[in-house]
């Protein structure tokens, strides 16, 4: 289990397989929502996650195991739905409110 205070998050990375579809869509939505906070949101293939130095990783449940293996010390938040998933919204809220984000 890893955790970080939402107030310390500077970079969110959406992990993906190809980085062509859904992860791009989510990264763009989050970038817009968190623009005012100056938070960088990008996407990266799961095998290149370490190179992108994320504070928090978001990924689909199907990739969760691989993402956690790549980033054992970083919170990896998994989601099930690409559109309107409550786990994604919870990360946004935690960043805005300075609450804790963890992957337990």
């Amino acid at each position: 289990m890893s955790s970080i205070s939402g107030s310390k998050v500077k970079k969110l990375v959406v992990a993906c397989e190809a980085g062509m579809g859904s992860s791009v869509m989510i990264a763009k939505q989050l970038a817009r929502q968190l623009k005012a906070q100056g938070i960088e949101v990008t996407h990266a293939p799961v095998n290149q996650l370490a190179d992108s130095h994320p504070d928090v990783v978001l990924c689909h449940r199907g990739l969760g195991g691989r993402a956690k293996q790549a980033m054992p010390d970083t919170p990896v938040v998994v989601f099930d739905m690409f559109l309107g998933d409550p786990s994604i919204q919870a990360v946004v809220d935690a960043i805005l409110n300075g609450d804790n984000i963890s992957d337990d």
Partner: protein, 141 residues
């Protein structure tokens, strides 16, 4: 802005008896438009088997693998709406937006698309309108 979706990339009232057929239909259309090589179509099905491209709200976004970017000639979207829902590993899909991209050039468009899928009025247009002009205007913004 570049028109990632063109009139020839829209199919309304399409039919597919399986998820694979639906994904390959999107791939064939991208290939017909010259946006991808034949190999990309197989890569789309390969990607679909790694993780489903189902997004929610009866929409799927099939596209290739990271490795298959080399088979992309130019970034392009296709809009394929089915007359009957396609079984997508237990989910029902009525709209496929097939994607081909070399990099992140289509990122802003996908961000806009997400907002449109979550907005009731534009969602209804995407799922129901028979006006291809309306679809082009909605997506290519």
């Amino acid at each position: 802005m570049t028109n990632f979706l063109q009139l020839a990339g829209i199919r309304l009232g399409a039919t597919a008896s399986s998820r694979e057929e639906a994904v390959r239909l999107c791939g064939e259309l991208l290939h017909t438009l010259g946006a991808v090589n034949q190999q990309y179509i197989d890569a789309m099905w390969e990607r679909e088997n790694i993780i489903s491209s189902y997004m929610g709200e009866q929409v799927a976004l099939p596209h290739g693998t990271d490795d298959s970017r080399k088979h992309v000639n130019f970034a392009q979207l296709v809009f394929v709406r089915f007359s009957e829902p396609v079984d997508w590993d237990g989910e029902a899909v009525k709209l496929c937006i097939g994607i081909a991209a070399k990099g992140d050039e289509h990122g802003e468009l996908l961000g806009n698309l997400a907002e449109k899928l979550l907005d009731k009025n534009s969602y209804k247009t995407l799922m129901e309108t028979t006006s291809t002009t309306e679809l082009l205007e909605l997506i290519n913004v």
